[in-house]
């Protein structure tokens, strides 16, 4: 593989990893919301051919490899959802409500938290996701917003604490 291509792939991985929980599947695959199933697959195959660790993951450092795997698996997830008409319809509905990942809304609901305000919950979700990715700045921002909407929530306070520790 040429050095140029390697650098281009690395650049994509770094950028995509930063915004993984903020961009839609469409953005991630760089396709319009009107893309046909064949276009979805073509976009995915093109990305997979670059991002698959067998092609691009040999001899890279472990921290980068982690990011590569995270990006690759989200790209694959995007394809799985968008290439399936039922899942895609469901995703489009969830996306319109501001959730960039399928099923995440339902997932958080199952978890124990004490948030009742819908927009506080949305920012809390974004904050937790950013926390998971080690993106403490974005976590802080989202969680502070969430706390403004629902100042008494213990769940938000705990998450905010963790984000502050991480950011320090």
């Amino acid at each position: 593989m040429s050095q140029d291509r390697k650098a281009a792939i690395e650049d994509f991985v770094q950028r995509a990893h930063k915004v993984l929980d903020q961009v839609s599947y469409y953005r991630l695959l760089s396709i319009p919301a009107t893309a046909t199933e064949a276009q979805v697959r073509a976009a995915y195959y093109k990305l997979a051919a670059s991002l698959h660790p067998d092609v691009h993951g040999i001899g890279v450092d472990p921290a980068y490899r982690k990011k590569l795997t995270a990006v690759f698996s989200r790209v694959a997830e995007a394809y799985k959802v968008l290439a399936d008409s039922t899942l895609r319809a469901r995703y489009d509905r969830e996306l319109a409500e501001g959730s960039v990942r399928i099923g995440m809304g339902a997932d958080i609901k199952k978890k124990k938290h004490d948030i009742s305000d819908a927009s506080a919950l949305r920012f809390y979700k974004l904050g937790k996701a950013a926390l998971g990715d080690g993106d403490y700045k974005s976590a802080l921002m989202n969680l502070r917003f969430a706390l403004q909407k629902e100042p008494e929530s213990k769940s938000i306070k705990a998450a905010l604490d963790a984000a502050e520790k991480g950011n320090a």
């Binding site: 051919a49 795997t69 690759f72 926390l131 998971g132 604490d161 991480g166």
Partner: protein, 518 residues
């Protein structure tokens, strides 16, 4: 030079292949000049007793008649399974050797008074294949790619990797059989198309729909019947002949293991002959005692048409998995562009025509259907070595993986059919003030409640900082690597400190056991 091999570790037969400097794959024949080696092991002394070493392959098969309780075959059906698993229990009733439950509940075998884990038995087959390859190269083998059925779960994959490690082989990759078959057939070099890979071996039938497009080989669905294969054909023939012996000669062989084994050997032989010839003959002198006190010299000629008639019910069972595999990706069987036949049993003409009628077209000509999988595994070595460029295999997880936290909340972390490698995380938190330890459990399976799934491990994170309830949070990361094997890691949220995980209980062999067995 670095020596890499590809191994098809089959239920019935195994096969090993390698690549040359240019990446071209070829089969390595065993000492008898055969391309496949029966996955049969016969123990001549108690395991670990330093007595006579076990026999592997054809010599082991020959001992099945005389020493059935010490001759282990089909161990792939037990590897990574639990003793109380329903399919294991069903199997136990039919096997001439003894199954036992290991201390951790895994299914083990008991031979000559000693207990043996399935990975150990498989390691004996792998060691033999390793030796075949080493003799071929006149050099040591460094790494192997080993194939496993697409439906193998984590425990089964891990147990297969353990078997290789015990055999002193470094596993470069575990590769799914249908993916290997697609490569072995050369799909990556061909035009863009959708293939159906139909693999009928000794005991299992697997159908996979594979999409090939611009160097990408993607398995889009896999279906199978875990209990359909050459063994069923053998059983159908046996039943017919045993019935005839009873009605025509008044001989009941059902309680005569040696006579049964002799008959079985010739039945399998005849089945193979009938794939080429129109008829095949059996001849067994002194097979059983007649009412007159004399012994029967049994002679029987089987016509191909007769055989096809007897195996009708077996053939009928091919339909459902094929239709299901196509339906899973929104296709009808007729939409598939080409059919590839894999597995020794697809040499039988009646099987070929049945599959052709399901898909509405004849299968592609494959010279050696029982070699394709190992050729594909060797081809994957060439891809990883960079000898073949611009080919990428997209494989998927076979089972969903979930996390049970202390508060009883169970959540799926990685779905079934996720493309590998894949990484996902969940956050868990303490539920009491000053809680210093946090437990969680990992499960495999698609059920919404953990009790209906299989526990893979119970983990504990110790020495957490003391803080009010809910303030200490752990990030639990699941990574399923390209082998389809799960790795779990945790770090403390906030501090980002990596947390050592302690595995409290798990299926399979421990690291120490594997080291001891090497």
């Amino acid at each position: 030079m670095k020596r890499s091999i590809g191994i098809d570790l089959g239920t019935t037969n195994s096969c090993v292949a390698t690549i040359d400097e240019s990446g071209k794959p070829s089969i390595i024949a065993n000492k008898l000049g055969e391309s496949t080696t029966p996955s049969t092991v016969s123990l001549r002394s108690a395991p670990g007793s330093n007595g006579e070493p076990p026999l592997v392959g054809a010599p082991a098969m020959r001992r099945a008649t005389t020493n059935p309780a010490e001759t282990l075959y089909g161990v792939k059906r037990l590897i990574g399974r639990r003793y109380d698993d329903r399919s294991v229990q069903a199997l136990a009733a039919t096997l001439p050797y003894k199954l036992v439950s290991a201390a951790n509940g895994d299914a083990w075998v008991e031979v000559l008074g000693a207990q043996l884990s399935p990975p150990e038995v498989s390691s004996m087959v792998l060691r033999e294949l390793h030796e075949i390859a080493a003799a071929h190269f006149d050099d040591t083998v460094h790494e192997a790619i080993i194939t496993v059925p697409a439906h193998f779960d984590n425990a089964e994959r891990r147990a297969t990797a353990d078997a290789a490690e015990i055999a002193g082989l470094k596993v470069r990759r575990l590769l799914n059989e249908p993916t290997a078959a697609a490569l072995g057939y050369g799909a990556h070099r061909g035009k863009d198309q959708r293939l159906a890979i139909c693999d009928l071996g000794g005991g299992t039938f697997d159908v996979s729909i594979v999409n090939v497009e611009g160097g990408i080989v993607e398995v889009i669905s896999s279906q199978g019947d875990l209990f359909l294969g050459g063994d069923d054909v053998d059983r159908a023939i046996m039943q017919k002949l045993l019935g005839e012996l009873r009605s025509d000669h008044g001989i009941d062989l059902s309680e005569e293991p040696t006579a049964l084994q002799r008959l079985k050997t010739q039945v399998v032989q005849a089945k193979h002959t009938l794939s080429e010839a129109r008829s095949a003959s059996l001849e067994l002198l002194h097979l059983g005692e007649l009412s007159s006190g004399k012994f029967l010299d049994y002679r029987r000629t089987i016509e191909r048409a007769e055989l096809n008639d007897w195996v009708g019910p077996v053939l009928a069972r091919l339909d459902a998995p094929c239709k299901e595999a196509a339906a899973r990706c929104g296709l009808s069987p007729k939409d598939v562009d080409a059919i590839v036949l894999v597995g020794g049993m697809t040499r039988m003409p009646a099987i070929q025509s049945r599959i052709a009628s399901i898909f509405g077209r004849p299968a592609l000509k494959v010279v050696n259907p029982d070699e394709i999988v190992s050729i594909g595994a060797a081809t994957q070595c060439a891809i990883l070595d960079g000898l073949i460029e611009d080919v990428v295999l997209l494989d998927v997880t076979s089972q969903a993986l979930g996390l049970l936290s202390e508060d009883g909340n169970y959540q799926q972390v990685i779905p079934c059919n996720a493309t590998i490698p894949t990484r996902e995380h969940r956050i868990i938190a303490t539920s009491k003030d000053d809680q210093r330890e946090l437990f969680f459990e990992v499960y495999e399976g698609g059920a919404a409640v953990p009790a209906a799934n299989r526990q893979l491990g119970r983990f504990v994170c110790r020495d957490l900082p003391s803080a009010p309830a809910g303030e200490v949070m752990l990030l639990v990361e699941f990574t399923v690597d390209v082998d389809g094997i799960l790795h779990v890691a945790t770090s403390e949220l906030g501090s980002g400190e990596q947390r050592e995980l302690r595995l409290m209980a798990t299926a399979g062999l421990t690291r120490a056991e594997i080291r001891r067995l090497r």
